[in-house]
């Protein structure tokens, strides 16, 4: 049997890290394309959403009060409708992008 892909990859990285080669400019010089941008955005929104869920989850474990209590506190701040809309929008955008682009990947 020959080497596995994993073995070859780790041999490559061991040799590469040892030789301390400088990193070739990539994102800085390569002309951006739409597929490239969409792909990294999909990744970025995915990471952000994941971290958001984890943060929410940790809050559920650590915070003393229940969800309605904190929601009431936010309501008591009497934030303007424009600000509330902006917050909802900024939550909805990464979620929607990731979902719709995800469907694109699935089909």
């Amino acid at each position: 049997m020959g080497t596995t892909a994993r073995e070859e990859m780790s041999r490559f990285w061991e040799k590469n890290s040892r030789s301390n080669r400088p990193l070739s400019p990539h994102v800085t010089i390569y002309k951006w394309s739409l597929p490239m941008a969409m792909s990294i955005t999909h990744r970025g929104t995915g990471i952000a959403l994941s971290l958001g869920v984890s943060l929410f989850s940790l809050g559920a474990l650590l915070l003393p009060e229940h969800f309605p209590h904190y929601l009431a506190q936010v309501r008591a701040l009497s934030l303007g409708p424009a600000l509330i809309f902006l917050v909802k929008f900024s939550l909805a955008v990464p979620f929607s992008y990731h979902t719709w682009n995800g469907i694109r990947h699935l089909v």
């Binding site: 990285w13 990471i47 474990l61 969800f67 699935l106």
Partner: protein, 103 residues
């Protein structure tokens, strides 16, 4: 061998993605504990696998990879625990989203 495992992992990723997608209308139309716990599971697994791919792509070297993956496991376990706790002790995911959006 490991390529069969990789192929199964790939299929698993697509399956969980489709399941998670289906849970979104379900959450809207039939909110409740069944959807809440399914969401907790699917969301955590989807995120765990997604972040795992990010680690595979950007983290190199035996020790950093090991450390990153252990960290990820801890994060995912805590996330799942927290979401289940929220479903059990608090209003649950579906209700929480509905309440938040009604603000």
């Amino acid at each position: 061998g490991s390529s069969k495992a990789a192929s199964l992992h790939w299929t698993g990723e697509r399956a969980v993605s489709v399941l998670l997608l289906g849970l979104l209308p379900a959450a809207y139309l039939c909110p409740g504990p069944a959807v809440d716990y399914s969401l907790a599971a699917a969301l955590t697994l989807h995120g765990h696998w997604g972040l795992g791919q990010v680690i595979t792509d950007y983290v190199h070297g035996d020790v950093p990879v090991k450390v990153a993956n252990v960290g990820l496991y801890v994060l995912s376990a805590l996330t799942f625990a927290g979401l289940c706790h929220f479903n059990y002790q608090d209003v649950g995911i579906c209700k929480a989203v509905a309440m938040l959006w009604s603000l």
